[in-house]
């Protein structure tokens, strides 16, 4: 644990030193290759004049709505697929196919249907993440050990209660993995969408940096985006995962 920490500090320290050295040596002009200090300055400025805060707020709102819808629809669809073989053979099969499509491929279609607006970005985000949640939910429910279902029925669980009290909790490790994957898909879709066409948001800020030839700004925004990814991974999904692990024990984690 401690050696790992030391190694990481050293590694990043050296990385920063090389970066600073290259910048100082002016191998490339400053507007192409800013120094770490320039980036830090851009970062501070971006937060001070609140452009970053606004962009973060807007991107987070979009992801909350898009991912939220994705979770509800995807989860519901997954449950329906596991419950009814008709749905599985039809919609389930289609979902499996659509899941393979990179989300940004939905963009032209979204633009034609909705025009350049919020609804188009929601569409891309939802299409990019929903089916992976659907498939994970279905896989989780399908792989529930039969003994749990037998025990649940034996203790008086029927249909809805069996689903709610036994099947869904038993499938939770797999569902959580799907939620996590869905999150990362939807976050990527959102960034791609914002970069390519919509106003505001972090992706758009990145594009604006390019248009202004402001490289340190571009890198500062990239750092903000990476930080948000890491924080959600660690704090939201990491917490949920360790919670499940504590209950199930390490070895049964699927």
């Amino acid at each position: 644990m401690k050696t790992r920490f030391v190694r990481q500090i050293l590694f990043y320290g050296i990385l920063l030193a090389i970066w600073e050295g290259l910048a100082l040596a002016q191998v490339w002009p400053g507007y192409i290759f800013p120094s770490p200090l320039d980036v830090l300055r851009s970062l501070a400025e971006g937060f001070r004049d609140s452009t970053f805060w606004v962009a973060i707020g807007i991107s987070l709102r979009r992801i909350a709505v898009g991912y939220g819808i994705s979770v509800i629809l995807g989860g519901l669809l997954g449950l329906l697929i596991s419950r009814f073989s008709v749905v599985k053979d039809t919609v389930g099969n289609l979902s499996l196919g659509l899941q393979t499509l990179p989300s940004i491929c939905w963009l032209p279609l979204a633009l034609l249907w909705f025009g350049i607006n919020e609804r188009a970005i929601y569409f891309v985000v939802i299409m990019g993440s929903m089916f992976s949640i659907t498939m994970a939910t279905h896989a989780g429910v399908r792989n529930v050990q039969p003994i749990f279902i037998k025990a649940g029925r034996n203790l008086g669980a029927r249909r809805i209660t069996l689903f709610r009290e036994v099947i869904i909790p038993a499938a939770m490790p797999s569902i959580l993995a799907g939620l996590k994957q869905g999150w990362s898909f939807s976050w990527r879709s959102l960034m791609a969408g914002e970069l390519l066409f919509v106003n505001l948001g972090l992706g758009h800020l990145l594009m604006m940096g390019r248009e202004l030839n402001d490289m340190s700004r571009v890198i500062a925004v990239m750092i903000v985006i990476a930080a948000i990814s890491i924080l959600t991974d660690k704090f939201i999904f990491g917490t949920a995962e360790s919670h499940l692990q504590r209950k199930w024990g390490l070895e049964t984690k699927t």
Binding site: I147, F148, K150, A151, G152, R153, N154, L155, G156, A157, R158, T161, E165, V166, P169, A170, M172, L244, R246, K247, W248, G249, E251, T252
Partner: protein, 262 residues
């Protein structure tokens, strides 16, 4: 009160043939009786319990409890499965509460009942533990508490103590006999260990190798509580084993034969 298994037969489809598992089983079990079923592996003991629990239908014959035909799961007959099926996402207490919750009993009421039953199996201290934190013997006791909390009339136990070490098993034998004497449940206890069956049962039904046919029913009238090493047991065990020896050899031979044919 009595459980009547009236000429029950059951077979399973097996590679486009049918595999006869139980053949013409006829048993009458009295209410409050500790009834053991013993037989070699694969002879259909679990299948028979499933039929009594109402988890599986018989092909022919009927099963009745107090004259009422068993054709579905009922709260008066509760099974403790060979694999237990404790829920890893719930604490020990929540596991014991589960059936009561399904019955629609209020949170306060079911907590109280669950705690009483956890105390009965000496696990009250572990009420907030998760299942993976328990030893094998403790898991058995949680499963027992979870079943007893439902206050069933018949308790169906499927080889509950097979995977345990001898000391733990002896302790649980004592505990189970004590619980049976105090609660007066009808217990149908399945095992492939004849000595265990004789130790626990008022009567022991011996099944033959597959297809399971009822070979014999032996009454055991030794005083309780019995210990597995009691001398009186050995005589009865020996008689049954003598009879079963042929059966076990037959099973091994059959399975060996099936393997070499494939």
């Amino acid at each position: 009160m009595s459980l009547i298994i009236d000429h029950v037969s059951k077979s399973f489809p097996n590679q486009n043939k049918t595999l006869p598992v139980l053949r013409d089983i006829h048993l009458e079990i009295q209410g409050g009786e500790f009834f053991c079923i013993a037989g070699p592996s694969g002879c259909g003991k679990t299948t028979l319990l499933n039929i009594i629990a109402g988890l599986e239908p018989a092909d022919s014959g009927t099963t009745t409890w107090n004259g009422k035909r068993i054709d579905h799961i009922g709260p008066e007959r509760l099974m403790i499965f060979q694999e237990l099926g404790l829920f890893p996402w719930l604490t020990v207490l929540q596991n014991v509460e589960f059936g009561l919750k399904m019955k629609g009993i209020s949170a306060k009421e079911r907590r109280k009942t669950a705690l009483v039953h956890l105390e009965m199996v000496h696990l009250a201290k572990f009420k907030d533990a998760y299942i993976h934190e328990l030893s094998g013997g403790m898991k058995q006791r949680v499963a027992l508490a979870r079943a007893l909390a439902m206050d069933p009339q018949v308790l169906l136990m499927d080889e509950p103590f097979t995977a345990l070490d001898a000391q733990t098993r002896d302790m649980l034998h004592d505990e189970l006999q004590r619980l049976w004497t105090t609660t007066k449940k009808t217990i149908i206890f399945v095992t492939h260990n004849i000595r265990e069956a004789v130790c626990l049962g008022d009567r022991v039904a011996v099944l033959s190798a597959r297809p399971g046919i009822l070979k014999n029913i032996v009454s055991v009238s030794l005083p309780r509580p019995r210990r597995i090493e009691d001398h009186g047991l050995m005589e009865i065990v020996r008689v049954i084993l003598e009879e079963l020896k042929g059966e076990i050899e037959k099973t091994v031979r059959d399975e060996f034969h099936e393997d070499t044919v494939r």
